[in-house]
């Protein structure tokens, strides 16, 4: 799994609350059996018009957001469906971190297993970044997970926290399954003690 330690890049702004995973990647793209190839269909219904051309009214199509590796958004980003395809699409598109006021639980679980960093900032800090990202010139940010710091040109600086396990997943790009399998003896012993009526299937 890919790790995240520190990254500098430009930002795109999606100034909305409650962006659900159906918007991040609509259902018709969940039929594939691969983990990659979702970047072009990220935010499909918002990003393209019915003829398949870029919708100029959609934020991500603005020229100053082209090539962005950070996405700035509002609260409750990633709510709804558990589809990991949403995270795969954000990563394939080129995003390394999403900065918002809050995130949905399953979305965060999916993020940390795919090298996408969810950065929770205060509403005031997001409002500050939002106004900077509205300008015509690209907003360059540096996000440092080891230090727990976001900084921007022009004096912006903020701290963020991530729960220790999730932080470790991202910093080290862990093979979580391999890690759990090291506890094989404990799992086997736990299984032996399970009551018989739970072995039903």
């Amino acid at each position: 799994m890919q790790s995240f330690t520190r990254h500098t890049g430009t930002s795109a702004l999606l100034a909305r609350d409650n962006v659900d995973t159906d918007q991040i990647i609509p259902k018709q793209f969940l039929k594939r059996i691969e983990r990659t190839g979702y970047g072009d269909v990220l935010f499909f219904d918002w990003r393209y018009d019915p003829e398949g051309l870029a919708n100029p009214a959609f934020a991500l199509n603005a020229p100053q957001y082209s090539g962005a590796s950070f996405l700035i958004t509002g609260k409750n980003f990633g709510c709804g469906s558990s589809r990991e395809h949403a995270v795969w699409a954000l990563r394939d598109y080129g995003f390394r971190a999403v900065l918002g006021v809050s995130f949905a639980d399953i979305f965060v679980n999916n993020c940390v297993r795919n090298g996408l960093l969810p950065v929770v900032l205060s509403p005031a800090e997001i409002a500050n970044l939002t106004s900077r990202a509205r300008l015509d010139t690209p907003l360059t940010l540096t996000v440092d997970l080891e230090q727990g710091k976001v900084s921007a040109d022009g004096g912006f600086s903020a701290s963020f926290q991530l729960e220790p396990f999730r932080r470790m997943c991202l910093l080290e790009g862990l093979d979580e399954i391999g890690m759990t399998l090291k506890h094989d003896a404990e799992i086997a012993s736990f299984e032996k003690d399970r009551p018989a009526f739970t072995h039903h299937a």
Binding site: R16, D17, N18, D20, D22, Q23, P26, K27, Q28, L30, K31, R32, I33, E34, R35, D45, P50, G74, K75, N76, C79, G80, S81, S82, R83, E84, V87, S102, A104, D105, I106, N109, N110, R113, N114, E163, P164, F165, R166, R167, M168, E176, I177, M179, T180, L181, H183, E186, I187, F190, E191, R194, P195, A196, F197, T198, H199, H200, A201
Partner: protein, 470 residues
């Protein structure tokens, strides 16, 4: 031992050992699998040379991507067909039981788990699907996971988790006539918001919850995720035990007695502390109808679409303006004046036998409106067979509804069942997100009886005044 909540009892009894940092390795008793979120997980196992640790605790079905009409065994969509065949292949290769399309027990994963009593009190249950919270109605700890976690459970029968917080939602008093568990959960989400329970496992309690059937309890727990909750649960009681007894995978004989004794201990100790508590007066709930593009945007059927001018802050106002524009609605339109083009009775939220019966009772002796296309998609083959045995299919067909085969269908529109752009639908499903039921489609979430009444009237009506012809 300190006083513990229902959740804490189940959590504590499933911690295998500490994991890295603040995490715990949690044992999973039942892993449900479907075709959409599993192919990459099985492929991951294959690439790493790993096996499914406990195939007998893993159960798969086909539901999201399958036709509900015509010959359901022929899937014309090549991508969907590949996904279905991939699950079949993976189940064969790794020795996982599959309830395939030709199985008399096939159905939506969250309908068949309980129906077959795979779902039981006190278990930990996961599935690569956010509506896994449904199974919490039995006093299980059940939650949705992503595909990487699906792979983790396949390989280890465990998950690495941080302990969530707890929330008590207490429904005091009794529901009025015509008000259902769908309205309880929509009422809760309207009150606390779509992120109101984020980070929490919710326990639903109170007189109104105790009075509910198992099927009605499943509807509440199902939509816990729409309030952001990690899971929703209800302590098991006689209603739970009566439902489970004798079902296919329920314990039998002495094993049942042993299980029941254990299950009876699965309730929150008096004095146990929750991190948050919400009080709701069940008696004051009305039938709800969503008007916007998330499940928190709803109003009682007697009310009107709100005016963004009255929003609490700018962010809420912008959200409302966007939602009303997408939904093609004006502020202050009466809910009862909203006309519908389509009616969908189905989904893991509301496609169980009681839901089908409630809708059938409303339409018996009526025809649906000329302007409405109605479809009923039973949650499982068992539901379909039982409804047909009761003659309910004939009631729907006589009224002008289509009677379909079981599957997820137009809840998410992965198959051919979709709304067209601009079409407005009264739906018994769980999400009214933009495009959820088809690009440009407009979804209003309601209970099965409210959906049926809207089909007849051609617009929303208050089910509490319905003239039943039975």
């Amino acid at each position: 031992m300190p006083q513990r909540t229902l959740f804490e009892k189940i959590w504590d009894s499933h911690v295998v050992c500490s994991g890295p940092q603040d995490s715990r390795i949690l044992y999973i008793d039942l892993h449900l699998v479907h075709e959409v979120t599993s192919p990459q997980a099985f492929e991951g196992l294959r690439v790493a040379g790993r096996n499914v640790r406990r195939p007998e605790l893993t159960v798969a079905t086909l539901d999201h991507n399958i036709p509900t009409t015509g010959n359901r065994f022929v899937i014309e969509d090549a991508l969907a067909r590949t996904q279905v065949e991939t699950l079949r292949h993976n189940c064969r290769e790794f020795g996982v039981r599959l309830f395939d399309l030709d199985s008399p027990e096939q159905g939506i994963v969250h309908v068949i788990g309980p129906e077959l009593a795979l779902t039981q009190p006190g278990l930990t249950i996961v599935c690569g699907d956010s509506h896994t919270s449904t199974h919490g109605a039995f006093g299980a700890l059940a939650f949705g996971i992503g595909t990487s976690e699906v792979e983790h459970v396949l390989a280890t029968q465990c998950l690495v988790q941080k302990k969530p917080k707890t929330m008590l939602v207490h429904f005091a008093g009794a529901l009025g006539n015509g008000v259902t568990s769908k309205d309880m959960i929509l009422g809760l989400i309207a009150q606390i918001g779509t992120d109101g329970a984020t980070g929490h496992v919710v326990e639903y309690a109170g007189e109104a919850v105790r009075a509910l059937s198992m099927e009605a309890r499943m509807t509440i727990c199902n939509m816990s995720i729409e309030a952001g909750a990690r899971a929703g649960m209800i302590a098991p009681d006689e209603t739970t035990f009566t439902y489970l007894r004798g079902r296919r995978f329920a314990p039998q004989g002495a094993a049942w007695d042993q299980a029941e004794e254990y299950w009876r201990g699965l309730s929150t100790d008096s004095g146990a502390k929750f991190d948050a508590t919400v009080e709701i007066s069940a008696a004051q709930l009305a039938p709800f109808v969503t008007w916007g593009t998330n499940p928190g945007m709803s109003a009682p059927v007697t009310a009107a679409v709100p005016d963004p001018a009255q929003a609490a802050d700018e962010s809420e106002r912008n959200g409302m303006i966007r939602a009303l524009e997408y939904m093609g609605l004006r502020p202050r339109t009466r809910i009862k004046d909203i006309a519908v083009d389509r009616v969908f009775i189905g989904s893991c939220t509301n496609a169980r036998l009681e839901d089908i019966r409630a809708a059938a009772r409303v339409i018996r002796g009526y025809k649906i409106s000329d302007r409405v296309q109605g479809m009923v998609v039973p949650g499982s083959q068992n539901v379909k067979r039982e409804a047909e045995r009761e003659g309910l299919d004939k009631v729907f067909v006589a009224a002008g509804f289509e009677w379909r085969e079981s599957g997820c269908s137009m809840c998410l529109g992965m198959n051919a069942d979709k709304l067209g752009p601009g079409q407005r639908c009264a739906s018994t499903s769980n999400r009214n997100f933009e495009g959820r039921q088809g690009a440009g489609g407009r979804t209003h979430l309601v209970s099965p009886a409210m959906a049926a009444a809207a089909a007849v009237a051609g617009h929303f009506v208050d089910i509490r005044g319905w003239e039943y012809r039975d």
